[in-house]
């Protein structure tokens, strides 16, 4: 099973909303390097973001994801639990 398929099975996940696609892709790259299960998905309809994609991750990784965003100074709009 691929990392992405595994992630889809989880039903408790969150998304990070970014201002730009470049930031979203950078966060994805760094999260994967840290062996976290993440996936870039279109922004859910009830949330508003202009850069069409957001980063999905398991809730248990929230702290680690936040740390990466802060450490690498990646600007993001917000994190939402889905």
């Amino acid at each position: 099973m691929t990392q992405e398929e595994l992630l889809l099975m989880e039903d408790n996940y969150s998304v990070v909303i970014f201002y730009s696609t470049s930031a979203a892709i950078r966060a994805e790259s760094l999260a994967k390097r840290n062996k976290l299960m993440v996936k870039l998905i279109p922004v859910p309809r009830n949330l508003s973001s202009d850069c069409g994609i957001c980063l999905q991750f398991n809730n248990e990784d929230k702290q680690r994801i936040k740390e990466i965003l802060v450490e690498r100074k990646i600007e993001y709009d917000d994190i939402y639990e889905i």
Binding site: T21, S22, A23, I25, G52, R72
Partner: protein, 383 residues
């Protein structure tokens, strides 16, 4: 055929470059940063990966501080016109390419003070002269790292340190060094590094960029262009974050996919190895040319370090005629004339006739150098 015009555009490219471009056109195709679908995300990943590789090559911390441009000229224009305003002073050297000189002369008409520090006829810059030219209103120092005429290097690290001590920004034109000479924005004290993709980085034409060091405040660097970025679409104002602030309009993703492969090739081979090899080729070529009666090779005699760009002339022969004979009779491609750099030719004393220029890459061989020397020997003999 022997291609000795790599300082203009490198040829051939590593085969992976064309393959990566074909892969993009056939399998990805989409516009990055505009849509949420899989192909758009994949296109975005290719751009990001290219930024990551460039950050590795130049020792930058944040790949998003790498701004893609059309070429190095475009990057230099962004830096100069974005930073300088009336009343500011900018210091440069007499070894600059027109990619720096022309925007500076344009800015001069709009009230920017331009100070050109003369270099010796061998192309040597004395850093003390730069230090002496610094005034209260000095905002920027801009230097060409490797000469596109004689292959000499300007002392960027020393000048960069001077700039930092005086709290002045330092812009480096790496057109001839990025990809074939080790560069480190931290150790070399570079605040803005302008590069082109189609020379020693082995990418296709239409690729280049500007690396922004930590000291560059984006509030003080005005974008040259504004427009669609795929971000902040609810606003009619340009977004203020990187890289979108400076990257408007659909990017050259197919070209950047090729550049990505070119940089991977360099990282795999190792930049020190590439530099050493090209240095060996240069030394052999210079030594061979110097032995030919009537041939003058320009630049410093004892230079230990350089890039593989060599200029020479043959006594009583016009560069343009020599170039034509090299092409038609010897199948050697090179460039003759002024190489877009009148300032350098005035410095080394070859204005307005210019020189014959041989420029090499990782893909040239010692056999080719021998053949080129033999060709010049024959032409110099009048044969």
């Amino acid at each position: 055929m022997i291609y000795l015009d790599n300082a203009a555009t490198s040829y051939p490219k590593p085969k992976e470059v064309g393959q990566a471009m074909m892969y993009f056109l056939e399998k990805v195709g989409a516009s990055p940063g505009r849509s949420g679908h899989r192909l758009s995300i994949e296109a975005g990943r290719i751009l990001y990966q290219t930024r990551e590789r460039l950050a590795e090559l130049f020792n930058g911390d944040d790949p998003l501080r790498i701004i893609f441009t059309l070429n190095v000229t475009d990057a230099i224009n962004l830096a100069l016109k974005g930073l300088l305003g009336p009343g500011d002073q900018v210091i440069t050297s007499s070894m600059e390419h027109n990619s720096v000189m022309r925007p500076l002369r344009g800015l001069e008409k709009r009230g920017v003070e331009v100070k050109v520090i003369p270099c010796s006829p061998q192309g040597v810059l004395c850093p003390v002269d730069i230090k002496r030219a610094i005034k209260k209103n000095t905002k920027l120092i801009v230097l060409n790292h490797g000469s596109n005429v004689i292959g000499s290097l300007l002392p960027i690290t020393v000048v960069g340190e001077i700039a930092r001590k005086h709290d002045i920004l330092f812009l480096v034109d790496t057109a001839q060094t990025a990809g074939c000479y080790p560069l480190d924005i931290k150790k070399d004290y570079i605040d803005l590094l302008a590069f082109t993709g189609h020379k020693a980085l082995y990418g296709p034409p239409g690729t280049g960029g500007l690396v922004l060091g930590e000291r560059v405040d984006t509030k003080k660097l005005t974008p040259l262009k504004e427009g669609g970025t795929g971000s902040h679409s609810e606003f009619e104002e340009q977004p203020d974050f990187l890289p979108d602030l400076y990257e408007s309009g659909t990017p050259n993703t197919v070209g950047l996919a090729g550049l990505n492969a070119g940089i991977s090739f360099i990282l795999k081979e190792g930049i020190n190895k590439i530099h050493q090899y090209e240095l060996n080729l240069s030394q052999k070529l210079i030594a061979g040319l110097k032995e030919i009666p009537g041939v003058t090779v320009f630049g410093e005699d004892q230079a230990k370090d350089r890039v593989a760009v060599i200029s020479f002339n043959i006594k009583d022969q016009l560069p343009s005629e020599v170039g034509l004979r090299l092409d038609e009779e010897y199948d050697i491609m090179c460039r003759v004339g002024l190489h877009c750099s009148p300032a350098t030719h005035k410095t080394i004393g070859t204005f307005p006739i210019g020189t014959i220029r041989f420029s090499m890459s990782w893909f040239n061989t010692f056999e080719e150098v021998e053949q080129a020397i033999l060709a010049v020997r024959n032409i110099a003999k009048g044969a």
